[in-house]
Symmetry: C2
Subunit: 295 residues, 2 copies
């Protein structure tokens, strides 16, 4: 199966899973459930849930465990972080995935609460869908609370916000932001897939490292695209970093060196992946695809 055929097959499983594992839009109170689905159904690249599925499939090609609830949980978590990031007190953004952001389409309070609800739902899914294997469920949930917590995802967001207008930010500060704001979620995606696929601890650690390197590559490319692409191609507002006076890979290292750094991180990601049972051609191709992307 070629890369895009396999990607689309995984994507269909993700989309079907999102339909199944989110509360119906008419669940009381209808407004919050409609808001949750508005943001989830806006689409997006679904990279994180695809990684969960692909990693679990790679390790247990006909395995007994269903990775779909974990994939849905990761997408709920990611969507929560985008909804809160877009709020007026954060990035104050009007456009996300080519549609009005949730607080523009609904209102701020609903967006705040829908984000809270998606975070809660993500963790709820992990501890209920895998409850028949409690040690697995606990490990999945602990991975998520660690990756999403105040020392990782939220820590990265806090320092990212604080960095606006501070042109004295150095490469170490920027690395902290990239590692926590972006890489933590990709590490998490690999870790959940690895646990569900029955990886050894050494294999899981190697995959988490692949996720970290992919995350660093991914964020550098994001910075490059923000500086070079236009809003229509991105589906979100372009040129925000320069406008906000933000230090990015591009402002620190320039576009060409940033692209080279991204390629180096991608190569390391592929090397970590190859340590696990010789690697997986789909995940290797995904790493490549994400580091030459145009949106």
């Amino acid at each position: 199966m070629d890369f895009s055929t396999k990607f689309n097959a995984l994507l269909r499983r993700v989309e079907a899973g999102l339909g199944t594992w989110l509360p119906a839009a008419d669940t009381r109170p209808g407004r919050i459930h409609a808001a949750m689905r508005y943001s989830i159904e806006a689409g997006g690249k679904r990279i994180r849930p695809v990684i969960v599925l692909a990693t679990a499939d790679f390790l247990q090609p006909a395995g007994p465990r269903d990775p779909v609830p974990a994939a849905v949980a990761v997408e709920c978590l990611h969507t929560y972080s985008l909804i809160h990031d877009d709020l007026p007190c954060m990035d104050d953004d009007d456009l996300r995935r080519g549609r009005p952001t949730l607080h523009r389409a609904f209102d701020e309070a609903t967006a705040l609460l829908a984000g809270d609800a998606l975070l809660t739902h993500a963790l709820g899914l992990l501890v209920t869908a895998y409850a028949s294997e409690p040690a697995l469920a606990v490990a999945l949930a602990a991975d998520m609370t660690d990756a999403a917590g105040s020392r990782r995802l939220i820590g990265g967001q806090v320092e990212d916000l604080a960095a606006e207008g501070r042109m004295d930010l150095n490469a170490g500060d920027l690395a902290y932001i990239h590692l926590n704001k972006t890489a933590a979620m990709l590490e998490l995606s690999f870790s959940l897939g690895a646990r569900i696929g029955g990886a050894s601890e050494a294999e899981r650690v190697a995959l988490v490292r692949a996720g970290r390197e992919l995350g660093l590559a991914f964020q550098i490319i994001d910075d490059v695209l923000d500086a070079t692409a236009d809003t229509a191609a991105l589906g979100k507002t372009a040129g925000k970093d320069a406008k906000a006076g933000k230090v990015t890979s591009v402002s620190l290292h320039g576009i060409e060196d940033s692209r080279r750094h991204a390629a180096e991180h991608a190569a390391t990601a592929r090397a970590r992946l190859a340590e696990v049972r010789g690697g997986d051609s789909f995940l290797a191709a995904l790493i490549d695809a994400l580091t030459v992307r145009s949106r």
Copy 2:
């Protein structure tokens, strides 16, 4: 031991637990961890964590399990909900627990993220502190994601917000709000304490029902106090409901009938409690204390 001696002993365990189980204020990024501690250390009545401890102690007087992490988790969850409730897009409140609200003392983005972090931390505590008993940890976390989710706590907040200015709200709508916005957290506190204390499922269900009735009594008293007490006595802004044109127990039923309804719910709570091993004198006294309180 008399009621207030025992209450204060439990309170000291809660306060010590909060010190132990929250990230230190100087953990990077310092601003978010300082914000989390600002809100937690503002105090409050600590009713929910005290219920967790008292319930577990009642069921396993010299039991092997430490209920303190679960008590801390419940207080983190409660504090998250207050922080987000106080934000400008929600209740827009300046005062909480006698101090400036978090977004006034810090800023809105920090308050948003500190709330997110406390929610994440609450669930992280449950799945890490009880990881040696994974089935217990999973059950505790599932209780919390259920109580805090879009069908309970958040559902109650959504309908509460939507109720502002809608003077046609009926008793059923108000019951939905009270049941989910307030009672869910008290049900959760009893449920966590019951599971940690090794209650049978029938005992746990009876205690959860006690929590529900206590929650309903508690919210009615809150409505009465909002209409009758002053801001200094409450430590939060009084008279908000009438100002916001909100239907409350008081606007629907008047002050005297509201007080009677609260007393009835409290009596039912004591009856449910008494079904479990004959009841517990401290928890019975706590139910009484919470339904004759003045703040």
